[in-house]
């Protein structure tokens, strides 16, 4: 009779324990949990978290989840399960950030930013803040406010290897597209691969293409295309696609550029296998690790025309948001404020070779980073545009450019194919 009782009791206890663990409300504590994806900044963040703990008594736990694609999926899964940490980042399009805000998963930092006469807000680069700011009347229907804090800024520009340029008899870096093509031809003549970039990653290809779309037709016409008022078969868009055909025909591009991840492209440039590259400011740290003696400079992509400015992508490099449902929201905000203050930003910039988000921490960075920093004045980013293209169209656009590069399609064929996807998405009314 007594045989089953202990096991029965154990089973009941296990089930009850399991059930008790589900849905237990979080209680306020003196701990803050931060999830991030930045392998190169993990040690520095750990050091800063430790320092913050010593200064304030608040224990900040820093957890790394890499690579960024996995991190992104983890955050979305955690949002669905309502188990987001106190501080995290949303590595996605602004429309997705907007959905997080509307779902009540991101705290509005406007009050904290504007306290004390806007001391926190004013210390940060405005373009970095714009990435997480929703202005009045924004197309996403989000309540206006600042929904995140940048910990660094970044932009994407062209890099050139001084030694390889000198080998080809090029005295100074190109200022126009025409000069760029001439330099590519000169490099080819002496057996140097002119250009490499991680165009196996579509966003980087998209970034390069949109720089020239802005330059050739201006941002209003680009946005008009997104609204469906201008077709991708317009001569200006064909001219944009044609630039890639020109790069292909010049033999400027590294052979496997369309299947190359950016890590491999960074390796190629650092090991002097190509004279030019297109990359983001984080590359300074990467190149320093791969080849400390690499002698290189930074220039904006040379414009095709001087009628309109060529705008580069730039803004917040990495941003953190605060979980609006966290019981430790105030402590999380206080930590972010501390993390983006001058001293911590200078420490981060020095340790990781990234551009600080706090402009008061400027002047503490290297020459190459200073050149990158100058580009911030002329930067833009899809996350601050009034509207974005449908992701299916963007995918067709980027894959189409890859098709041009490998010689499978002409600019006209790609333009027609992209327009077909655009028409289909417009007719679905998905916008």
């Amino acid at each position: 009779m007594m045989r089953g009782r202990p096991s029965l009791a154990i089973c009941c206890a296990l089930v009850l324990t399991a059930l008790a663990g589900c849905g237990q409300p979080q209680k306020p504590s003196n701990k803050v949990l931060l999830w991030h994806w930045m392998t190169d900044r993990h040690d520095t963040l750990l050091q800063l978290a430790k320092q913050y703990g010593q200064e304030t008594g608040v224990e900040v736990t820093v957890q790394l989840f890499a690579p960024s694609e996995s991190y992104s999926q983890k955050v979305i899964a955690a949002a669905q399960a309502n188990i987001l940490p106190d501080i995290y980042g949303v590595l996605d399009k602004k429309s997705i950030v907007a959905d997080f805000v509307k779902a009540g998963l991101i705290a509005d930092l406007t009050g904290a930013m504007e306290a004390d006469g806007g001391q926190w807000k004013n210390s940060l680069f405005d373009k970095a803040l714009a990435d997480r700011r929703f202005d009045a009347g924004n197309i996403y229907g989000v309540k206006p406010g600042i929904y995140g804090a940048p910990i660094d800024v970044t932009n994407e520009q062209m890099l050139y290897n001084r030694k390889l340029l000198a080998k080809a008899g090029i005295a100074s870096p190109p200022q126009t597209w025409e000069e760029l093509i001439k330099d590519f031809q000169a490099l080819k003549r002496v057996g140097i691969t002119p250009f490499v970039s991680g165009w196996g990653e579509l966003w980087l290809l998209d970034c390069f293409a949109s720089n020239y779309a802005f330059n050739i037709m201006g941002e209003e016409k680009v946005f008009a295309t997104y609204r469906g008022e201008v077709k991708y078969t317009d001569p200006d868009w064909i001219r944009v696609f044609g630039l890639f055909a020109q790069l292909r025909d010049t033999g400027a591009l590294m052979e496997d550029i369309v299947t190359k991840g950016n890590k491999y492209a960074e390796q190629d440039f650092a090991l002097e296998r190509a004279a030019f590259s297109f990359n983001g400011s984080w590359c300074v740290n990467v190149y320093k690790d791969m080849n400390p003696n690499l002698d290189y400079g930074v220039i904006p992509p040379p414009p095709v025309t001087d009628v309109r400015p060529l705008k580069i992508w730039g803004g917040a490099g990495s941003s953190f948001v605060v979980n609006n449902q966290s019981p430790n929201k105030d402590k999380a905000i206080a930590f972010l404020k501390w993390l983006t203050a001058k001293d911590q930003q200078a420490f981060l910039a020095k340790a990781t070779n990234n551009l600080p988000a706090n402009h008061e921490a400027g002047g503490l960075v290297s020459k190459v980073l200073e050149d990158f920093a100058r580009g911030m004045d002329n930067s833009t980013h899809p996350s601050i545009w009034p509207l974005n293209e449908d992701p299916s169209v963007v995918e067709a656009f980027d894959k189409g450019i890859q098709d041009i590069i490998i010689g499978q399609k002409t600019p006209q064929q790609v333009a027609s194919a992209v327009q077909q996807v655009k028409d289909r998405q417009m007719s679905k009314g998905s916008r």
Binding site: G4, Q73, I76, Q80, D99, G191, L202
Partner: protein, 304 residues
Amino acid sequence: MGLKAKNAVLTRDHIENFLFVFPAVAIFCIFYIYPFYKMINLSFFDWKGIGPMHFAGLANYAELMGDRLWWDSIGHAGYITLIALTFQNALAFALALACDREIRLKRFYRAVFFIPPVLSEIVVGLVWNWILNPQMQNNHPVGFLNHFLYATGFPQLMHNWLGDPKTALTTIAVVNAWKGFGWGFIMFLAGLQTIDKQLYEAARVDGAGSWKTFCNVTIPMMLPVILVVVILTVLGCMQVFVLILALVSEGLVNHTDVPVTRIFSAMQNTNRFGYACAEAVIFGAVLIATSFILKKLADRARQL
């Protein structure tokens, strides 16, 4: 003991038994049944992964039926599987036959052949990226394969293996076969070692040569193992993903797309979770149907 007392004991036993299986059933339901149900459910919605969900009925499926890239990707996975079924498994079988005999360094070969499958696909991708690198530096090939061709007097054969739509998918299929043949090798070897040696002796006494022995003894006895290897190869190769990501990043345009990369792209690049779920449902159905057909074939082969 009265009837009531007996019933009480029985009831308690039932409850106890139920509680013992409950954790396993709960885990199965939570981690298998619910996600499966949720995936099918989501496939009827237009959803970005966060925010409001809009019921789309069968729209995702209707779009999928006309999505040429999706059906191309299934064709690509089929091609990779075909290479694995033929080239990979034939090689695995041949090597297993060789290692089943009394040859020198048998154990060494077994260990070496089993290295590729235990390596991570990312590591395999990195190694083969270096082998297949088409880049030239100072007029010399950087990649091992092109360097080998150059050094052995065949520079005309140097090629951008992963960057040319004509060779990219085959190259991926060969790398996949290289990585996968070790599993088949181990299974074939285990199967060969279970064949009673007296059968071979009886065949020899009857005057059968090597080829006849192979056709009439080895193959019939190995048929169940061969079918298991075929099923595992089909299921494994149709779902190839990480290797492609490691070799060609987001893909050579759409020439190297397979179903899982399309599903991943729908979620990651275009934030179409509902569409991705519809793709996953269709792909799951294709795999279940394939497994079912192969299982039937295996059952029939066992009866022969």
